[in-house]
Symmetry: C2
Subunit: 764 residues, 2 copies
């Protein structure tokens, strides 16, 4: 679990440079703007995503989900469904092999693949495999389920109330509140010249990936092959092997392309196991994908959180105390809902208390979603700091600059390999024209302008070491094998650039095989912005090994010492005498050996150091005081993510982060009906992700590169998560700056803003 690294305060793993593998200096390919190596396939539609995947003789499956927020299955009659045209198998918890422990296997929150106790709308009841998708969905309607409806709870407060219905045998609390403390909170607040306090909340957001979740499963004897839309094939392999009691080696998971995950595809899904069971029952390949509506109900969410923040500082802005309390819900099944990390480590502060509570409710469970817990934490902390700056009469940027850390207080005061936060703040402010924009008139008409900013940090969980393999063929073209998924972030392109850098081979002569538990080596799931920093050192090491082998073979032939040789434009060249060159394809040893193989594994971290990324976002908004409409007119993101590997995909990923942050701040919210307990906006019309019209054309993405030579051998950190953490808070601060009222509950909708303005007597 990505968030666990954080909640446990673990030091993320990457691979420190060594004498044998020093950090890069100047690079030729890395850092340039490169379109994706698979751009044609993606754009032309010829890329085969698992949702598109078809096998001969394949059956189509559909899922029957619980329509109630809380119920118990009294009886299921599948006999009519089994007789429907084209139906080949109907699967319920009573089917052979289908009674499988699932959520929280081994721990007290255990549930089953199909559980008679249905804890939220969308809990799985049955699955059907038929010759066509329509036949499968028709058959679902013929399944007769007798439900006993139960009382339900939709908020942590309700779930903790006396007499509330219990979701689990152990009640509704997911363990004791997690408490982090350092220093002396009371003394800290006593020493403060100003204290602000507030309660903030964020709405539940949904991952809403383009490609819905699902799998195709196929058996060959006792061997199961799964094509899955996933961020981590090895995680799916493990989940499926465990559920079906198969040796890991007998479960091959392939993740060719995937259409977005944002954390919701980090682990194995029930649908995968169901597809496998249906395939085994029918001796046919089975494809099981969720519908769009089901996707909204069961594949996870960023939980709603309520955060109480109290912050104190000296007059000069020096923070003295932070008291932070977060209440969240993992939904019906255990999952992290913590948001406290930023409060404990983003700024230097000696006295901190941070509490995370997590309570079960009758709704879909939380899953890690792009920087899990962090945008919520920033929403609360960074608005509180904004208020604090106002109270102290300080510029919000200046307040933050006063408290920039160089060590991770949470992690034993270990120093960061680099801390780009100050530079993000300075360069971002400069690019945004912060001082001028703040000074500008806010307007006198109903449309007021405002500016705001917020900061963030993120680290990444490296997980177990990745291994990558590079093969150089006799014609100088190259094959790269790696276990990592490309979750849409351009991983394949970045890794190809690493190979191109070391082997001086054009990108279009590099072919990548990836994300296949059978044929690629281990990589932990792509999430937590860790893929590039964790896997690029392995890829680099593999490429360097191939280069070393090649140069050694060339040295033999050229009678030049290896140390004097370099690769350039398809040739081995003597550094001392550039006239001495030998085409790579003419190196006799390469032809003799046919393929040169290099294997690279990520090494350990630099001892006692912490790797983190930093960011500062700046927003400009226009707020119509009559309608409550907020238009984000400008965004600037300054990101410190170490070396930028591919300028183009870097910028695109930051833009994507800004858009998701804008969604949190402005539009996105899962709406559960209080009467029925059902989600009323489980579709892309009513669940509002930002559209092109919501996103400002004026966006600027800055990279603040501290030339971090300690973090790892490529100098790259991650960018996916830090690019989305502070955006919503910056927008909220800009709204407050524009109209003088602070919207503490996300999203900032017109009704909500109007109500606040009205309360202050300013509307109309």
């Amino acid at each position: 679990m990505v968030e666990l690294y954080w909640l446990q305060g673990a030091v993320p793993e990457t691979a420190a440079p060594t004498a044998e593998m020093p950090p890069w200096g100047e690079t030729k390919v890395v850092g340039t703007r490169q379109p994706r190596v698979d751009a044609y396939e993606r754009v032309s539609g010829s890329a085969v995503y698992p949702r598109d995947f078809t096998l001969p003789d394949m059956l189509h499956a559909a899922l029957l989900l619980c329509p109630h927020p809380h119920a118990r299955v009294k009886a299921i009659d599948t006999s009519a469904a089994e007789k429907m045209p084209g139906v080949r198998a109907v699967l319920t918890g009573r089917s052979p092999g289908a009674d499988v422990p699932w959520y929280g296997r081994g721990d007290k929150a255990a549930s089953r693949l199909f559980d008679d106790h249905l804890r939220h709308e969308g809990d799985e009841v049955a699955a059907v495999a038929a010759e066509t998708p329509d036949q499968a969905f028709d058959a679902l309607r013929a399944i007769r389920v007798t439900y006993e409806e139960l009382p339900f709870v939709l908020t942590p407060e309700a779930a903790l109330a006396k007499g509330a219905p219990s979701l689990h045998a152990w009640g509704n609390r997911y363990g004791e509140p997690s408490v982090y403390e350092r220093g002396d909170l009371a003394a800290g607040f006593a020493a403060a010249d100003a204290v602000v306090e507030g309660t903030y909340s964020t709405a539940c957001e949904l991952h809403a990936p383009m490609e819905v979740h699902g799998s195709v499963a196929k058996w060959d004897g006792s061997r199961l092959t799964v094509w899955d839309t996933t961020q981590g094939v090895f995680a799916v392999q493990q989940a499926v092997a465990e559920a079906l009691k198969l040796p890991l080696a007998h479960v091959r998971v392939i993740g060719p392309y995937m259409g977005g995950g944002f954390g919701s595809k980090l682990e194995g899904g029930k649908y995968t196991v169901m597809a496998a069971l249906l395939a085994r029952a029918t001796a046919r390949p089975v494809k099981l994908f969720l519908t769009r509506e089901q996707e909204f109900l069961v594949t996870g969410n960023r939980p709603a959180n309520t955060m109480k923040v109290r912050v104190g500082a000296k007059k000069d802005g020096t923070l003295t105390a932070i008291d932070y309390h977060s209440m969240g819900s993992g939904g019906a099944y255990p999952s992290g809902a913590g948001t406290a990390f930023l409060a404990t480590d983003l700024y230097t502060c000696p006295n901190v208390r941070a509490v995370d509570e997590n309570v079960a409710i009758n709704a879909g469970r939380a899953r890690p979603m792009r920087a899990p817990g962090f945008p919520q934490g920033a929403w609360a902390l960074e608005q509180a700091l904004d208020e604090l700056a106002g109270k102290l009469g300080l510029d919000p940027v200046a307040l933050r600059l006063k408290n920039v850390p160089t060590v991770s207080q949470r992690r034993g005061n270990q120093p960061y390999t680099s801390t780009g936060l100050a530079e993000c703040l300075r360069q971002g402010a400069k690019a945004f024209g912060w001082d001028e924009a703040r000074a500008r008139a806010k307007g006198t008409g109903p449309v007021r302008k405002g500016v705001g900013m917020a900061a963030a940090l993120w680290g990444y969980g490296g997980g177990p070491p990745s291994t990558a393999i590079v093969k150089l063929f006799t014609d100088g073209s190259v094959n790269l094998n790696m276990g990592a998924a490309d979750i849409g972030t351009g991983t394949k392109t970045v890794m190809a650039m690493v190979v191109a850098e070391e082997l001086a081979v054009p990108l279009d002569r590099i072919q990548i095989e990836h994300a296949d538990t059978g044929t690629t080596e281990y990589a932990s799931p792509s999430g937590g912005s860790k893929t590039v920093p964790s896997d690029s050192p392995a890829v680099r090491a593999a490429a360097v090994e191939v280069r070393s082998k090649l140069l050694a073979l060339a040295a033999e032939e050229m009678k030049v010492p290896v140390a004097d040789l370099a690769l350039d434009g398809g040739s081995v060249v003597s550094r001392k005498d550039p006239a001495k060159k030998l085409a790579v394809t003419a190196v006799p040893g390469l032809q003799r050996q046919q393929v040169l193989v290099g294997v690279g594994t990520r090494g350990p971290n630099a001892e006692g150091k912490v790797v983190s990324e930093f960011a500062a976002h700046f927003a400009e908004v226009e707020v119509n005081e009559r309608t409550g409409e907020v238009t984000v007119t400008r965004l600037v993101a300054a990101q410190e993510s170490g070396r930028v590997m591919n300028r183009l995909t870097f910028e695109n990923q930051v833009r994507g982060g800004l858009v998701m942050g804008l969604g949190l701040g402005r539009t996105e919210e899962r709406v559960l009906d209080r009467q029925t307990g059902k989600m009323v906006n489980a579709n892309w019309h009513d669940y509002k992700i930002p559209t092109a019209l919501d996103v400002p054309a004026a966006q600027e993405v800055l990279s603040v590169d501290p030339k971090d030579t300690l973090c790892n051998t490529t100098g790259a950190k991650g960018v996916g998560e830090p690019a989305t953490i502070p955006t919503a808070a910056a927008i909220a601060n800009a709204v407050a700056n524009a109209v003088g009222v602070r919207v503490k509950d996300s999203p900032i909708t017109p009704p909500r803003l109007c109500a606040l303005l009205h309360a202050r007597g300013k509307v109309g």
Copy 2:
């Protein structure tokens, strides 16, 4: 080319044991009888061979072949074919991108993918891709080809005759005759007490694999994926990349299962390139397989050879001189047709001359076929020695034992790592009851009994070093990646046994991915009996690396030195204190790292040593002097192939070799019609491979294991080829022993034998 290693006298590569990787002593798994790891898939029909392979939206292609033995295309009209129902593309040499150099690329024998000069019945004229196979074949009939028929030649003698039509610009001779000489031939014969001389011939045999040749081709952008029935995916990759001018990395060749090749599937086929061109033209996957009849015409053969042999020896049997001349034909396109190797290296003989000639004729080209050149050479040499033994009054076994070599005379008198020939002769004779059988009455009726024997050696070309990868998962199950194909010989099972030996893991917990240029490392094509000796050292090295890593992690936990640890039954056990044990799944480092990866590459040979296998076959026959019918009643094969890896597949492979040898000796012959130049038996009814009724139930397979600790780190040599080399000669010698006439031309058919008996006045 497998045969080239031999014709060039190269020393085959394997991997000598070293101090770090000593030879195995006693083994627990290796050497036992193990059913194939994929037996269920193979027997149940669930194994997907390329011929079975289907992709969604796939087109089916069919080939139009030249019906004449020698012709020129004057015109092709495909317009009617293009309008036929379901037709999506018609490909000829005039199609875009289809004018590709093919046979003998770069050398003087160059031809094209589609050549207007058609040099044998079966040369490719056009290909059609259509929605269904029937539509494709129907469309072929609508292609109008105007041929100019040319005079043709069907034998080397005719091809070399004055005024013969030329197949190539440079005439019909494939280069100068290859001549090998040592010692003084005249002096050798002068020193001989007895000399025999004779002319022998073998008929052209066809590989006739169960699965016909063909490919499925699919493009993803500029990337081509090919599913091919092949012995070597990397060879196919190279051929296709070269033909289509693609980077090697852009051609992925996958060879999941394959239904027999025997050498005919060692290289890329025209059909593969045609399938790729049709797929590109139609933007659809295309499946192109030959028909059974086409298979007989174009995929290769063991060429017919005519061999003149003169052998001299002293009274005691010491060989003094061998003069050997072989005339063969590579068919219409260059390919090896040599047979001389055995004459130069099987026995100690100081004075040798061996000549191989190779001439083009208007017939399908030769391809390496199980021990290319060797069964022909044995047919001639071993019959000549049989006659010589008779002339000297020596037992044929004794004659051979007198001349057993311990060094390879052909290869600089380098010693063999082991020479099991003498033991093969002794133990084979004993098991057969040679002396008793020779002494037995031959019968007085029309059915006479006889016994015969013959010997052989074989080495293997190792080719470039193979690399294998072994992954140990957290549950102790294992994945093995290797580039080698399993051509039906049980390679997967043997390699899994190697892994099982080193990691003490049951075979059913080992999963193998293999033969995929994209995802497995390099292995040269599986042929020449080299797969096990060349690749098993790489697999062993990979498994040993995993074991080392695992034991190191366990040592940390167990506080026991690594050197004292061993793997046993899923646990790490202290050798000194067996009570100290730790389940593999409980090794914390394994859980931490998720997957342990080991990479093994085959190392170099022992300096100055030659690795060869040896064999002696013994046959008993009954010959009906009235009908000329020969029944092989008993066969004993004594094989020295180093360590037997899997007793079961070893025996089966030897039995298969005996059956193919019986085919050469008794039944198989390509028949070309002298009037039309066309093959008259291009089908499995008229081309007679032995059936169950032809094969004696009484077969015995002996392994003579010299405990060769020098050849490589697993001690295994190959067995595929040596198991078929001497069989036919042994049968011919048995026939001569039975009826006193020697059939020098294969196969020994009733008419041929009757004619000889008749000539001697013995029939009827």
